[in-house]
Amino acid sequence: MSDLLYTPLHDLHVERGAKMVPFAGYAMPVHYKLGVMKEHQHTRAKAGLFDVSHMGQVKVTGDGAAAALEQLIPVDIIGLAENRQRYGFFTNDHGGIMDDLMLANRGDHIFVVVNAACKDTDIAHMKAYLEPDVTVTPVPDRALLALQGPAAETVLSTLNAAAADMAFMDVATLDLNGAECWVSRSGYTGEDGYEISVLNDQAVGLAQALLAHDDVEPIGLGARDSLRLEGGLCLYGHDIDTGTTPIQAALTWAIQKVRRAGGDRAGGFPGADAIFSEMAEGVSRKRVGFLPDGRAPMREGVAIFADAESDVQIGNITSGGFGPTVGGPVAMGYLATAHASPGTTVYGELRGKRLPLNVTKMPFTPANFKR
């Protein structure tokens, strides 16, 4: 793995017994000694610490940074209050999703966190369209940690009591273990928790301070994936990509009214016509959850049919696996809209056999956010 990038926590992962794998150009821990199943369960029961330093952190500064970003992102950014964060995505000219992201109003700048695999493209995209009116500055000198789970508040409060005062999607600058951290009360596990941006050379110290707490275990990408899947959350490049629109992806909620047709700042982002047309006329397919009958996991790529015999494919699974908290297989994917109502039974083809899948609402496990 010599050509892979290392995060500042690499040596700590190895010390803690992580199995390291290549992911988006980085050597990342897929699991530690507990294994995926126990790491997943530990996060839902107590608190898990995730290294997400491979993700891209970017500052957008200058007068009108929010307005500038609204040219690329169909989200209400101008209306995002100071010290608040929201979910969004870059769209392309066809309304497809170039990447999904988090946006925070940190007063003198908008802080953007994007996916590792897309970060170079995203940064180039922002620079090409937004500079020189605003300045797009990557922040490679900061690591990103996620502390997730019901004990996250108690744990982080031992380092700074103000952590407990934050509500879901609040952001704040907090001193943690002597480091100036950019903290948001958010995450991608369906649990309460925090994401913490910390200078690279202070990241190991902070991670060790958090891991010193009895309730905290280090958690790898394996459990991060099963946690977000149970949470009904999209994985870019799998559940959403340039060929899926936010409407097909059931992410319409992320486009606030002010940016929709008839809103004060309607459109003005790439693919607005395609997206508005889908909002008005409906979509031919949409993202739904599936609970397979039985115990066999149905993973990405499984073809879906309306019945046990039909030759006409009506959809496919984009993410699937075993849900440790659900105690059985869970999946998400796209289905022709006519078949996509919750309660419908469709069939996934697994190793040549058609097995029933029950269309269901997501999340599979109730979200546990501190609203």
């Binding site: 294994g35 995926v36 115990r295 075993f322 297989p329 190793r351």
Partner: protein, 119 residues
Amino acid sequence: MKFTEEHEWLRPEDDVIVVGITEHATTQLGDIVFVELPEVGTTVAKDDEAVVIESVKAASDIMAPIDGEIVAVNEALADNPGLANEDATGDGWFFKIKPSDPSQMDDYMDEAAYNDMIA
């Protein structure tokens, strides 16, 4: 007991061979969440796909290590696939096969040779 390069173990028991996968294999696979076993009475040839196991990470195929007839499968794995992790060489066995050519067993490693291979 004999071992294959694919991390299966074969244990003679009366006139049948009990087959499972090694603890080394289950550790590599991670938590096993689903095991699809062959039907009793199926005749298999060496290297036929016999079992599908799914761990939290991925699906893997287990091949029949010898020719023969499947005479029993471990039904307990249907409800508790984690048995393969907990007791790989005991309660986590997969199937029993009646060999049509018992000399095929001679091709496989003994425990010392297997341990050398995974060391």
